[in-house]
Amino acid sequence: MKRFYALIPLTAALGLLLGCLAAVPPELIDARLAYDRASNSQTRALAPEELEVAHRALNRAESEYQRNPWSLNGRDMAYVANRRVQIAESRARLALARRDKANADQQLTASQAQATSELSQARARLQAQEDAKRQADAARLRQEQDQAERARQAEADRVARQAQAQRDELARAQSQLDEQRAQLQARQQELEEARKQQAQAEADRRAAMQELQRFAKVQEDQRGTVITLPGGLLFAPGRSDLSIGAQRALEQVAQALETVPDQHVVVEGHTDARGAEDTNYELSVLRANAVKDFLAARGVARDRIEAIGFGETRPLASNESAEGRATNRRVEIVVQRGVGGSGTPQHR
């Protein structure tokens, strides 16, 4: 028994010696290296608790190795320590990934918010542009409509004014036409009346002339109607005062001249060639004036009567015979055609 106890220290010393001489198991080497790597990385900061667990596992394995280098359990402990280091590293990477993901999510949220904000701003700008454009279009349309309405109104006014002017013009024209019609009708009536009067005057004149033809010669020549009164009927020889028969004849002449009140009358005195020429001339003038005075006294306007003496200068027949001289002694009353009382008289 004493020998047995004496062998125990010897055996222990032998084991210690063999332990010192034994090689470090690879599991422990891996665990040490892994722990050193993790301790010098972000794992220390990101997974300190897991790294502490790994540290304790490694110390346990180291203790077991110090106690028994050949211990199979010690190798398992080193194996476990290595896994603990790997777990700590995995946790550190997980924390890092989660942190990165959180940052990314935050940035994603910020970017999305920014994009949403920019999109909203862009939509707002677009909406504002569309609103402005729509308002501008509406304003332009209203302006165009207003212009069109004003133009239409102006055109309507112009057309109305033109229509009114045309109506006024038409009314004036109608009024003028009515007036002209009335005037025309009046003129026609006047004309008809004048025609009637003229016809009546012509009839009266013809009747008067026919009446004159009982004692006078009435003829038409280029000067007009010529009433030739024989000198023996009107005056005694050498005298210029009217005889009683002459006054009756001249009464008929005056009546006949009243039928042509607007025509100029020339009273021409003519003598035969007996006696002095100047005497004959003066006698023809006196006789013409006597006839003029008588006619004026009988209502024929004096200003339409002209008395002219021709003496013996315009004989109608030969002065050699008594009959011829009687023909030359005459008074011719020329009712000039178409010449009124103010007409130009014919002078010798």
């Binding site: 047995f4 398992d76 777990i87 997980l94 990165d100 993901k101 990314a104 994603l108 970017s111 904000s117």
Partner: protein, 132 residues
């Protein structure tokens, strides 16, 4: 010498026989494996290999318990739990990193699409990069 070795073996057998089965560690390992499975670690390439290791170690631990090697089974189950936890961590980490990268890509894409507005006053910081 023979006597000493026999005594040691007997003492070891006695210790194993008397220690209790590490059922708690078995349950812990099983729980971590199920958590990894629920996170669909089988379809995350890196995590799937660790999950497979965890399952193998769980089976080995079960066999050790059945054979009465409770102490050894305890350490094997610790390995199984550690592998399962690593699978779980990777199954959580890798999709999170992919999601972060997608978010960063979306930010970059949005920033490239949205032109910088002058005068809006809003500035955006560059998108972070995921470090392994």
């Amino acid at each position: 010498m023979r006597t000493i070795l026999c005594a040691a073996v007997l003492a070891g057998l006695a210790g194993c026989a008397t220690s209790r089965a590490p059922l708690n560690k078995m349950a812990d390992a099983r729980g971590e494996i199920r958590a990894a499975e629920q996170l669909d670690a089988d379809h995350v390439s890196t995590a799937a290999s660790y999950l497979s290791l965890a399952r193998e170690e769980e089976d080995r631990g079960r066999r050790l318990i059945n054979s009465g090697q409770h102490r050894r089974a305890s350490f094997v189950l610790e390995r199984a739990q550690a592998d399962a936890e690593l699978a779980l961590a990777l199954a959580t980490e890798i999709p999170a990193r992919a999601e972060a990268e997608r978010a960063i890509d979306r930010v970059k894409q949005l920033q490239s699409q949205v032109p910088a507005t002058g005068g809006s006053g809003t500035t955006t910081t560059p998108a972070p990069e995921v470090k392994p």
